[in-house]
Point group: C2
């Protein structure tokens, strides 16, 4: 059953992006009810749309109102004729229901769901139910691998040979700009590192948010291929790519809900899709990080290792110290500046130690050499300036915007926060600092954020500046500053946590 309708275009920008409104008579003729789906076609172009039904106020029989998204996809204008037919039930909805009800899904079932996510056949309610059920029900190793491979196979795939390396931090430490150092270190040493990153979900800045301050991160797949072939690496945003395209659609729902339900498949599918063979997983560990203990980190690492293995990837990993922000800067522009400064002149101890340490884990594993020796190679790449040179080469290939740290624009408004009593910095609340940076406007306001002047163990005197808050909104700045109490704990005597900076896990 198919009917012809004349399109009407009132300029609808709806949240259900692909909405059509049918006259009730036509809806009955097609046999569709509100919330059913119809397929509109014009020549070879097709799109699935959500139906709303009207009783003669908006459309007459023979007419169909279409939203702007539909106009764009079908490339039609007012009065054009389109074919409209009813779409059958999606099999993927059954599989989502199976997951909700506690079932275990196989590869084919995940493939159907992921395909329908990417083709926008599933609406936000269906996608949300899937995400929440994944979050609550969880997934075993094989199931995670099934979902991960489904996410990979629904999208495009890249391939750059055997020595393709990658890195991922599971997050939870503010100010982690390590990737911006690791990519040039590894590529300057001859490895291939096609690094795609995401934007912030629950943090004040994701790696793509930081990088975007300095160069373009929103690149097409062909451009990425060219850049990686030429320079050996790239630093791009994974979201607009057709590599594991379901990932960002899922994140779009997860972000406002503050849910992180497909953590491992989301990460590993992106790595697999760019053709990575060796991946280092960074698991920040601390009282306010996502992962609280080295034991918990080891368990998580083991899952990465096992799922990755089923996907044909070789994974190493470490628990890293997350009792305080990494370096001093939190927020896209502030962090970009700090990363750049350290590429030019490695000077922030924890940042340099972490970047060279993670790089060395990959090198040591691939080359079968001791970690210590591998670390020397990474450090040498950084100190010699070869990594910086490589960074500039990649950044230029990606259309560099600002590569002078002094010219990176930070928030127009700023306020210093001073310490009230003298003593030692014994605790820094990552969570409070994240809240302050987010209230200040990060990551959407790129100049917003926090600069930490004192770190764990530092001696402070009454009146010293502990941190400076930046924002481009005066009102947000005020609110952020007033939310900053509890960010630092000052004690009379120094008291440092015993955890190590980098705890490598045995393979």
């Amino acid at each position: 059953m198919e009917i012809k309708e004349k399109v009407k275009i009132p300029g609808l920008d709806t949240s259900v992006k692909t909405l059509v409104i049918l006259d009730r008579k036509d809806a009955n003729a097609l046999g569709v009810n509100p919330l059913d789906r119809v397929v509109l076609s014009k020549g070879r172009k097709k799109i699935t749309c959500v139906v709303d039904v009207d009783d003669g106020t908006l459309v007459d029989s023979g007419e169909i109102v279409i939203s702007n998204e539909v106009v764009k996809v079908l490339n039609v204008k007012e009065g054009d004729a389109v074919d409209v037919s009813r779409r059958g039930e999606l099999i993927s909805k059954k599989y989502i229901r199976k997951k909700i009800d506690g079932g275990v899904l196989n590869y084919k079932e995940y493939y159907e769901i992921v395909k329908d996510i990417v083709q926008r056949n599933l609406n936000d309610l269906e996608l949300t139910s899937f995400i929440i059920s994944m979050y609550i029900r969880g997934m075993a190793i094989q199931e995670s691998a099934n979902l991960s491979m489904a996410m990979v196979n629904v999208g495009d795939k890249l391939s750059f040979g055997k020595r393709v390396v990658d890195k991922h931090s599971i997050g939870g430490i503010p100010g982690d700009k390590t990737t911006i150092l690791v990519v040039p270190i590894m590529t300057s040493l001859g490895y291939t590192m096609p690094k795609t990153s995401s934007r912030a979900i629950t943090d004040p800045a994701g790696t793509a948010d930081r990088e975007e301050v300095m160069f373009n991160v929103d690149l097409k797949l062909n451009k990425i291929k060219k850049i990686v072939k030429k320079t050996g690496g790239c630093m791009t945003w994974g979201g607009s790519l057709t590599l594991s395209p379901a990932d960002d659609l899922i994140i779009n729902i997860e972000r406002p809900l503050r849910i992180d339900s497909v953590l491992l498949p989301s990460i590993l599918s992106k790595k697999k899709a760019v053709g990575s063979k060796y991946v280092v997983i960074d698991i920040p560990t601390g009282p306010e990080a996502k992962v609280k203990s080295i034991r918990e980190a080891a368990e998580l690492y083991s899952k990465f290792k096992r799922i990755g293995w089923k996907m044909g990837m070789d994974i190493v990993g470490a628990s890293t110290f997350a009792y305080q922000p990494l370096g001093h800067a939190i927020g896209p522009a502030l962090e970009a500046r700090e990363a750049l400064e350290n590429l030019m002149n490695p000077s922030t101890p924890d940042l340099v130690a972490k970047a060279t340490g993670l790089s060395a884990m990959l090198i040591s594993h691939i080359e079968h050499i001791p970690f210590k020796k591998a670390r020397e190679r990474a450090m040498d790449a950084l100190i010699s300036g070869r990594a910086y040179k490589k960074f500039v080469e990649i950044a230029r290939a990606q259309g560099a915007k600002v590569l002078d740290p002094k010219k990176i624009a930070v928030g127009a408004h700023k306020k210093d926060i001073a310490v009230r009593a003298s003593g030692y910095v014994n605790y820094i609340s990552n969570r409070t600092i994240v809240t302050v940076a987010k209230i200040a406007g990060a990551p959407f306001d790129k100049g917003a954020g926090v600069y930490i002047h004192k770190k764990l163990g530092d001696r402070v005197s009454r009146g010293d500046t502990l941190m400076t808050v930046y924002s481009n909104s005066a009102s947000r700045l005020d609110e952020a500053v007033s939310s900053s109490s509890g960010a630092f704990k000052i004690g009379r005597k120094p008291k440092l946590p015993k955890d190590v900076l980098l705890k490598r896990f045995a393979r």
Copy 2:
């Protein structure tokens, strides 16, 4: 922080009903990001809206685009000034997260969530996560009572004294038009029965869908009060009422997802809100019903009983025979016709037995008389015509449309389905019949549905009509008919299920 903006009204009918679009500069000044909420106010009118941010293509600084819903609530016109301020975080989002994470919520926490559902502060993603987490995590008795009372107290409440009775079927049997007989039976016997019903969720017809064929069911609260005071009862749709108003908002999300997560609170809050004291719960039981065994029905009844008790209601209940549709008719108009015919002349055995049986359970419990005697009273009310007289009185008070069964319009197209081999009807698939009726267009197409000519145990000869399918859409009719195989199983020898028509549970 509050800024003044001039409204622009392009005629946006968005799915996120209360959407505003701000210029990026203004958004930064307010300190809001996309998906944040702002409060718009004009005089004493206020509304919470979802923010989208634009870079100068749709709005300039000082302007705000508002969707039609916002226009309506604030009663503004193009160019009017409104005050815009940022809204703080909702505490209810924390409680939803607590439920997702497996926590148990108290009354206050549910109250916050329900209040924010009703005030439209929670968006569809948040509401979906709440519903799915309730479905997966479940609720203990006290928690269900907490949610139920929160649902009651967020809305309006009615009160009609002590002898207020109610009835609810948990559904799962097609063609259940019992309520249309029970209300007039009970009210003709002097009880008060302010019955509100819902529209179909997963069935071809809900009681409100059936009733709407004969009289108006969409009444205002004041009108209901008047009608109940005058006639002793009513038969209305609960959805547009402000009685437990969260219920239908939740159902709007549940329906497309085919999830039924707040079954008991949804039912009991509606009963409590109309002031019901005695409630009979009908639990249809059969191989294709929601409830498969009498044991399972007894467990469900026990939950109703205990939650109801905590809410100050006295509940009786029964498992009822659901191995085949009730009566012959499935679909709003067909069912209305059958109910009406039985009020005028009680002739459909299972329908009459069920309606008088459920009525008798209430009577026996309230009056402390034996069930058998109570049933005689109910039967007498029906056979004497007093119940029919009462029905007409209530229907007229509700603006009767059609009260002559012959004048009830059923689907314009129909098709008979004949039996291929002679024998006995040994099985009827409720699920297949529901599917056929829904494909035919029920409940949206009121005339669509199925009429069953043969029931369990009937002897059939090759060529006899088993059922007739009705629809107002020729294409839907064809599709429905082609989905009807497997609706009946015919055997050489008769084979009847042993379950009883009405299994009353001990109090």
